[in-house]
Amino acid sequence: MAQRAGLVVRGRSGLHFIPATIARSLVAAPEVSPVPGAGIGMALVSGEVVAVLPLGSRAGALVVCEVDGELVGFAGLQPEASGFFDEIEGGVRFDSEPALDLDLAAALRNVDERRGFSHGPD
């Protein structure tokens, strides 16, 4: 069976998979400064200021990902495992449970749309 490399996290709606090409690192939840009216926050991670997008209510680590060439931290996710996982349609299998691909680019677009911005050329 084909395997995929990456990170399995638990979010509001169950298990999700983030490919290793997108997930950069996990850091202990830093102090997040909210950006008024934007629905996001900003945090200092390893000397870099990154946007923090809340994807769940779980306290814990911040999953730092590279989305469209930008470093974005996703909060509210609980990391479960990292490594190689059996591929299934639309995700991977972890402990006989499906972990579906997490569309981080879409999540980021949703925030941008709420802010009234757009990514890239129209």
């Binding site: 395997q3 490399a5 990456g6 990170l7 290793a20 090409t21 997930a23 690192s25 996990l26 850091v27 202990a28 814990g60 680590a61 990391p79 495992a81 990292s82 490594g83 190689f84």
Partner: protein, 228 residues
């Protein structure tokens, strides 16, 4: 007053004296026990007072350990992510190692959670012991008060007994104990006289007769009607 009455009175007074002495000893023992009990309860209370601070220290340590384990878990996950990025087979060993480490850390976190639960239970136990200690203190205080009320009564009883002995000595012509001993000796002498008389009657000989005369002098002085 008849000899038997004197004997009975002397015995009653003697018994009362012994009971009074035993009561005094019991009171002393009870006072010592109450004092010891108070000391023990104070030590226990002091230990209980220290426990919450100890418990807080333990909780702080548990929290620090939990944070350290969480950080270590993140490091293991990051190592697994690095191994995953290296790909198979290059990163396989790193992924496996990180997975084992994550499992071990997960078990350590579980054990720590158990400790935190035990600490909570210990706090509840401490609260229950503190309540029981309060009840024990109240009970001991009540015992001490009762003992305090008993002490003057016992002293009064001792005084009354002394007065009774004095009056009995005046009435009997001697102190109750001596009167009782003399009455008892007279009883025994009478019994012996009767025995010797029956021996003489049955022809036991001159030796018995020689003993009877001085015995008559003793018993006759007290009760001439019982001469054998």
């Amino acid at each position: 007053m008849a000899q038997t009455e004197r004997t009975a009175q002397a015995a009653l007074i003697e018994n009362a004296r012994r009971s009074a002495e035993q009561a005094e000893q019991a009171e002393l023992d009870a006072t010592a026990a109450v004092t010891r009990g108070r000391g023990e309860l104070e030590l226990l209370a002091e230990s209980l007072r220290v426990l919450p601070a100890r418990n807080r220290e333990l909780r702080t340590n548990v929290q620090l350990l939990r944070e350290a384990l969480d950080r270590a878990k993140l490091s293991a996950l990051n190592a697994g992510l690095e191994g995953a990025r290296l790909g198979d087979p290059m990163g396989r060993a790193l992924v496996d190692l990180a997975g084992d480490l994550r499992d071990l850390l997960g078990r350590a976190v579980g054990t720590l959670e158990d400790h935190a639960t035990l600490l909570t239970e210990l706090e509840r136990e401490r609260d229950r012991v503190a309540e029981s200690l309060g009840s024990a203190r109240s009970a001991l205080a009540a015992g001490g008060e009762a003992l305090g009320r008993a002490q003057p009564l016992r002293r009064e009883l001792g005084k009354a007994l002394g007065e009774l002995e004095r009056q009995a000595a005046a009435a009997l012509g001697t102190d109750p104990q001596t009167a009782r001993l003399m009455a008892s000796a007279a009883d025994q002498a009478r019994t012996l006289g009767l025995t010797l008389a029956s021996l003489i009657e049955s022809g036991a000989g001159d030796a018995a007769r020689e003993l009877v005369e001085p015995l008559h002098r003793v018993t006759g002085a007290r009760d001439s009607s019982e001469k054998p």
